[in-house]
Amino acid sequence: MLNPSEKAYTLALLALKRKDYRVAIGYFERAAPHFETNKEFNLLRDTTRLLVEVKEKLSALEIAEDRLEVEEVFSNGQEKDVL
């Protein structure tokens, strides 16, 4: 059978191709034991990790922003004119 780490690295790259970044991180972690000294591997894994963190932060900020807007529109229980 193939080395599981090598298979996982390939699956991580395929997940990146599908823009399935969270899944890619899981595969990168599984591949790590075999590739921990590989600079390219580390660069791709760390970039993906950073991207997922940025997406999470953005998502949290956007939710907070939406909540603020809703609170603004319905302050005192009455809808305001937002235009």
Binding site: M1, L11, L16, K17, Y21, L58, L61
Partner: protein
């Protein structure tokens, strides 16, 4: 620029970088995905599943690989091991079904084609590999395997060992690859024993080593 705009800009940059990084590997990714799926099939056969149809489909889908030059020696070696495992498991004989016989013939055909590229069929280990992460012998063995894979990858298109050495030294410097550094040293020593002038390469090796140690 607001906090959100800054994050969106960074997100866009990272996505673009990853897209381009994966695009550069598109051809290799296609091959590795195919080999991965062949390995999955072999695993299923090993577990006793009847995957005759899947094996047939795999051969049909990847038949063109034998006609073009996308496969590297390391790929043939990987597939050779998997084909060997499948063939052992399906136990093809005179009494086997036509489908099994066809798969056996197809494996032989691939093996024969690949033999022109010095295909090595290796038998897998008889027992599960021990956990030897802290064993220097196992670690060195793993390193040798990675060096072997790297050499197979880099030597596929090279015309001379010196051009392979040039590639390994570049990889050792630019990617700070430990495997590439060790492979470079091995090639240099081999060339030195063969009376080549290796001083310029030794200089580059030392520079690459210095870079990996954080110097330069």
């Amino acid at each position: 620029m607001s906090h959100i705009e800054t994050l969106r800009s960074l997100e866009s940059l990272l996505v673009s970088f990853l897209e381009r990084a994966v695009a550069l590997k598109e051809d290799r990714l296609c091959v590795l995905d195919g080999i991965n799926r062949l390995d999955d099939i072999a695993q299923g056969v090993f577990n006793g599943d009847d995957l005759t149809d899947q094996i047939g489909d795999w051969f049909a889908e990847h038949n063109h690989w034998l006609e073009d030059s996308r496969l590297k020696t390391a790929d043939y070696n990987r597939m050779g091991k998997i084909f060997g495992q499948i063939k052992r498991e399906i136990h093809a004989s005179q009494d086997s079904s036509p489908a099994v016989m066809k798969i056996s013939d197809e494996i032989d055909r691939w093996t024969e084609k690949a033999s022109h590229r010095k295909l090595v069929l290796k038998r897998g280990p008889e027992v599960a590999q021990a956990k030897e992460a802290d064993n220097t012998i196992a670690l060195f063995g793993n390193m040798l395997n990675r060096i072997d894979d790297l050499f197979a990858d880099l030597s596929g298109s090279g015309k001379h060992l010196l051009s392979v050495l040039d590639q390994t030294l570049k990889t050792a410097s630019l990617q700070k690859s430990n495997e590439a550094l060790l492979l470079s040293a091995l090639i240099i020593y081999y060339l030195k024993l063969s009376n080549y002038m290796v001083e310029p390469y030794i200089r580059r090796l030392k520079e690459a080593e210095s870079l990996q140690k954080g110097g330069g």
